[in-house]
């Protein structure tokens, strides 16, 4: 009984696995890897693109902007995804902006603080200010929520405030936006920074966080990265991702589309 059902399962499995060999890889397949912020958007764009281009398959993988850049360079991916601009050492690659994402500082809703100056934020993140009473709040230790190395939100934040990651005294290191929001909403003394769209959505939904007003907007481009000037299918997909056909998808992910830079 056991061996019979096992044999049956195994046969089915091998038949299924065998079909893999027949499935040829043509130039109808694109692989995208990179930023976890861009990935859900790119996945939806890819689905719409596949619908209008029968036979084409676009595989979207995630892992962070740095990986997107590396994979585009080594050729493991046809297109990399990065939620930041390319830096100088990457200037040999080609980047194609498809949308923008803003970043906002968030606090727990129960925190009475309503604004912080850039200097105060710098001092909080470098550990010079460790308690909210030092910036006019209640006596409560500050929980500094920082992003993990390799995250483009981190790079943009550091660049904007002129900080070095090695100087930051973080209590919590997080990866994705939603994780940041969850950490801050569950901890009255926490301060963090995440995507504006995500933060606004969660605040409207009733999650106990609040966005701090910024003196100057912190925004970052969402890019597709290619090793060479794109051609063929990659070029078609990039043009499609930049066209107004996908504006609704961009808004659905709470990003700002190229066509309408101000939201």
């Amino acid at each position: 009984m056991l061996s019979k059902s096992l044999t049956l399962l195994l046969t089915l499995y091998i038949v299924f696995a065998g079909t893999a060999v027949v499935h040829a890889k043509g130039n109808t397949r694109l692989v995208l890897t990179g930023s976890s912020t861009v990935a859900p958007l790119a996945l939806e764009m890819a689905k719409r693109f596949e619908k209008s281009h029968p036979g084409v398959r676009i595989d979207v993988q995630t892992g962070g902007s740095s990986r997107g850049v590396v994979d585009a360079r080594t050729g493991r991916a046809d297109i990399g995804m990065a939620s930041r601009s390319l830096n100088q050492s990457e200037s040999d690659l080609f980047s194609h902006t498809i949308a923008f994402d803003g970043i906002s500082i968030i606090l727990n809703k129960s925190n009475p603080i309503n604004s912080l100056s850039n200097v105060q934020i710098q001092n909080i993140y470098t550990g010079k200010i460790r308690n909210w009473y030092q910036v006019g709040g209640p006596k409560m230790p500050i929980t500094v929520v920082n992003k993990a190395e390799g995250r483009s939100t981190l790079e943009l934040f550091l660049h904007h405030f002129g900080l070095k990651n090695s100087n930051i005294k973080a209590s919590v290191i997080i990866g994705d936006n939603q994780q940041g929001i969850k950490t801050v909403s569950g901890n009255p003394g926490a301060i963090g920074y995440v995507s504006v769209g995500a933060a606004e959505f969660e605040e409207g939904y009733g999650t106990p966080i609040k966005l701090l007003p910024m003196s100057s907007p912190l925004s970052r481009p969402l890019n597709l990265i290619t090793k060479q000037a794109p051609d063929g299918l990659a070029k078609q997909f990039i043009l499609f991702a930049q066209s107004s056909e996908v504006n609704d998808l961009i808004e659905e992910q709470y990003f700002v589309s190229l066509a309408a830079p101000s939201k």
Binding site: F16, A17, A20, R76, Q178
Partner: protein, 280 residues
Amino acid sequence: MAMIDRSFTIIIWIMAGLVLLAFGWLVSDVVVQGAPKLSWQFLMDEPTRSGREGGIYPIIVSTLLILMTALVVVLPLGLGSAIWLAEFSSKSSKRVRTTRLILDVLAGVPSIVFGLFGYAFFCGFLDLGFSILSGGLTLACMMLPILIRTTEAGLAAVPQDWRKAGAALGMSRTTLLWQVLLPYASPAITAGLLLSIGRATAETAALIFTSGYVDRMPESINDSGRALAVHIYDLSMNVVGGDKASYGSALVLILMVVIINLSASTLSEFWLEKKISRLK
């Protein structure tokens, strides 16, 4: 003394109660939040809007395929190694002790390490790319040490007299193994299998780098396919407004593990009973 005894009993009860409470809380949270999402459509549809709407059918299929790939590799390798360790080698030899040590270390290695290994070796070196095959093989590496060690413990628990009795009756080693030792050890093997399946279905870190993120229906095991755990992780950590679908998927994952556990223990009991009734 009676006082001490009684308070000890109470403490034990409280401890057990706390564990049950924590477990009950966890499950009821997932059931309460996930149940409204659960429907035939949710199980049978493709995900839309980054998984916030639609269903998880391709993701269930990918998960089962990854698990199956892992099991096809793990079962023969794992049982074979365990039998070698328990029956075909001297227990105190250096080779055996080294193998055991390596297995114990491997069982404790964080899954992200297996993920990076799988990404470098299966996806990169063997050029399997992001595929269900890469994911399944990576999971197999994680499951092997657990299965080998529990099976070995099960075989070691078979009384030595039985082996001698078998030899006295003129049974070949294979017959003895197949008719006596393995049936006797089958509860332990099942337990090991369930533990490793549990570890495999809960796996996110190792799979996001190997079987990948693609949420469409896989055409073959060479395609990338998103596992349920990866889907839950992405929805709750990365997709704005994905919490409800995330709870729904978590509930499906729990149900899946329960079903797999029940059917595996039923199968193993059935097998054990058959062997014993034949011996009568």
